[in-house]
Amino acid sequence: MSEYFFLPAWPPAFGNLLWFGATLLVAVLLGELAHRLRLPRISGYVFTGLLLSPQLGGQWAPDIFERLRPFFTVAFGLLLFELGQRIDLGWLRRNPWLLATGVAEAGLAFLLTAGILYFIDVPGPVAVLAAALACATGPAVVLSVCKDASARGPITERLHLLAALNSAMSFIAVGMVYAFQHITDASHLEIGLLHPLYLIAGSVVLGAVLALAVLALLARLRPAHGTQTIGAIALIIAAVALADTLQLSVVIALLVAGTLARAWDKQRRLQPMDFGLMGRLALIVVFVSTGSLLHLDAVGAAIVPAVALIAARALGKIVGVFAFAYPSGLSQRKASLLSIGLLPMTGAALLWVERTTQVWPELGAQLAAIVLTALIIMEVLAPPALQFALKRADETNPER
């Protein structure tokens, strides 16, 4: 033992916690800068991720995502539960044209994207998988930008609903592509059927159990001092961990949990639930992580299919929204704003790319090039566009 045993080793080994603190600090500062530039704060968070990842930060920068991973998963789960909680399934019954809108915009985005990618010689499975990921609207982006702008009103509500719907549909589409791929792969019929079945059924069941657990807990706690909220967060963290361990979909499990909790909440106990600061923290973690996963070096290679994907899915969403705007009670002007709001892509695509690469390395690499490039472009452009749409719809609160 050295006589200077009380001094740390040199060079000192900084733990995750220090990185976490530093990252958070940078994110808060850049988020504020973005806000002063009249951009959504999440643009600043995404940029923080980009800046601190090895590609820009250089050798000394650690793999943020790996270090943030547990926080990321929990934060993402929390955001999705919060989104699910804002979804009113009864609305689909009272206004079936909204369901039609959801099916049309996601369906058309999927078909057009797959079609155009196939047309420019992207291999079939890659094209279909990319399209399945592209038909979703980023649920976390929608929630964050709306919260950031204190948005309230018809466009905000429709955005939440449609983002949840198309995320679910995207998930089912990906599951089906997986099944098909397994079957053609090695005629693993059981695996082909069981994998998506396990994924979908397992996630939904987990979500339902969480919903019941949250409601049961709320019935036993009083709302004072945030007790209910912290209790609910505890359950959410446990459920996220379970979903992760059981290899289920965190997105679907938590989205389903939030939605069902709302639907089954006959005593309206969920109403005062506010994730407040925890929600804000979750949001920073999610978008810094997303930013750190955007590999800029991938941009060059797949720029043409990525732009084709962006254009095709935008067209699909616009046509889908306009087709049912009138019967669903939306003016043409508001329909165009809603279409713009639906443009953000989902960061969950990154997780699917990762999972795909594990199962089918070659397919995964091709998918990664296209999806990552498209995602980089959309992470930059879509949040400001969404914020613009909310402002034009007069649903933001300028006094905040």
Binding site: R94, N95, R152, R268, Q271, P272, G329, E399
Partner: protein
């Protein structure tokens, strides 16, 4: 009556500045109701008037629907009615139309004089230049006092009679306040008032009572005098509790909170009709300034304590509990209510006076859960007629 109501009035269509009192059939009725547009998510006020109106305009419907100063408010008004039965039928139609459209847009419609917990800064001024102008003029008042009232029009044979009714009705103002009171909660607190909405009125210039003029010609002189000062431009600038409405040929009672359901709204119209008939036929007291000696005292007592408040009869100088005077009043109205076929409606109001008004109902509904979101949900169910 208060800000948004006042401002909303101010955007009424082009008015007849000649102040000629239109002829209308005596004791005909019409009502306007200002209603809250609320989110199903959390029960807070939300934006939605534009979509709601657009959806309603597509269909054949009864009643007149108008935008208000904020996107969180919609005003409905009925046509002219000879009796309360047809008015009730029309309001039922109006309600059905409104609920159908609101359901499609995931909105709730609520009665009540004020939203129990709205944060006024959240409110946005309806997107029209006229509204923006008013917001500039009144500043925070325009937003803070997002309150909701029922206005009742009673047809008068001529301007002189309208002014007689205006002054004579002032004795019954506390009755209207206590009967309609439905704003005990405001900005998240129990105000201890039955009608907190009325407190919002006082902040505005030209609110309160009309001056004591008895002849329509004198009223025109008064108006021209005020216009000479540059204080008013048209009748719409007077925000009195009761005011004449020459272009309709009516006297307009503007003191009421919007009740929680349309049945109460119709009953209030019935009470107005019966009181006006009683006043016009029996001429029970002389109109002079002494009528107004206890006006603000009575008004405050009714807004604060409802039917438990003190009431000083300006015509006899007798002090009693408002509830007792209301029940005596109903006895005096009996032959008139029988003639107008509103006896059952007035019996219902007697029950309200004895068992509790909407403010009482709201406090009872809030007590078990102490959740304002839940209270708003229950208020919305009342409006739907599910209670």
């Amino acid at each position: 009556m208060a800000a948004t109501e006042i401002l909303a009035d101010a955007q009424a269509p082009e008015q007849d500045y000649s102040l000629e009192f239109s002829r209308s059939e005596t004791l005909t009725l019409g009502v306007e109701l200002e209603l809250q547009i609320v989110s199903r998510l959390d029960g807070d006020l939300t934006r939605g008037a534009t979509e709601l109106l657009a959806l309603i305009e597509r269909k054949q419907h009864h009643g007149d629907f108008k935008p208000e100063i904020t996107e969180s408010m919609i005003e409905v008004s009925t046509g002219v009615h000879h009796n309360c039965a047809t008015m009730s039928a029309e309001l039922n139609d109006v309600r059905r139309t409104l609920i159908g459209a609101a359901d499609q847009l995931n909105l709730l419609i609520c009665g009540g004089g004020a939203h129990p917990f709205q944060h006024w800064a959240e409110r946005k001024i309806f997107d029209k230049p006229r509204f923006h102008h008013l917001h500039e003029q009144y500043g925070y008042l325009a937003k803070q006092f997002t309150v909701f009232g029922q206005h009742i029009h009673v047809g008068c044979p001529n301007g002189d009679e309208a002014l007689f009714l205006l002054h004579a009705l002032s004795r019954y103002l506390p009755h209207f306040i206590a009967l309609s009171a439905a704003s005990p909660y405001y900005q998240g607190v129990d105000t201890a008032f039955d009608s907190s909405r009325l407190n919002a009125v006082s902040a505005f210039p030209l609110s309160g009572r009309a001056p004591l003029v008895r002849k329509w010609s004198e009223f025109i002189d008064y108006f021209e005098h005020m216009r000479g000062f540059g204080v008013v431009e048209s009748m719409k600038d007077f925000y009195w509790d009761i005011r004449p409405k020459p272009e309709f040929g009516t006297v307009e009672i503007r003191i009421c909170d919007t009740p929680l359901d349309i049945e109460r709204a119709v009953a209030l119209a019935a009470f107005s009709q019966a009181v006006c008939r009683y006043l016009l036929i029996e001429r029970p007291f002389v109109i002079d300034e002494s009528l107004y000696a206890v006006y603000t005292f009575n008004r405050f007592q009714a807004a604060r304590f409802g039917f438990d408040g003190s009431f000083i009869d300006p015509t006899t100088r007798e002090k009693k509990v408002l509830r007792d005077d209301f029940i005596e009043t109903l006895q005096k109205l009996a032959p008139h209510s029988a003639e107008l076929d509103v006896t059952a409606l007035l019996l219902g109001l007697e029950k309200v006076a004895r068992e509790g008004n909407d403010a009482f109902w709201m406090r009872e509904a809030y007590a078990p859960t102490r959740s304002f979101g839940d209270l708003v949900w229950q208020v919305a169910q009342r409006w739907r007629g599910n209670n």
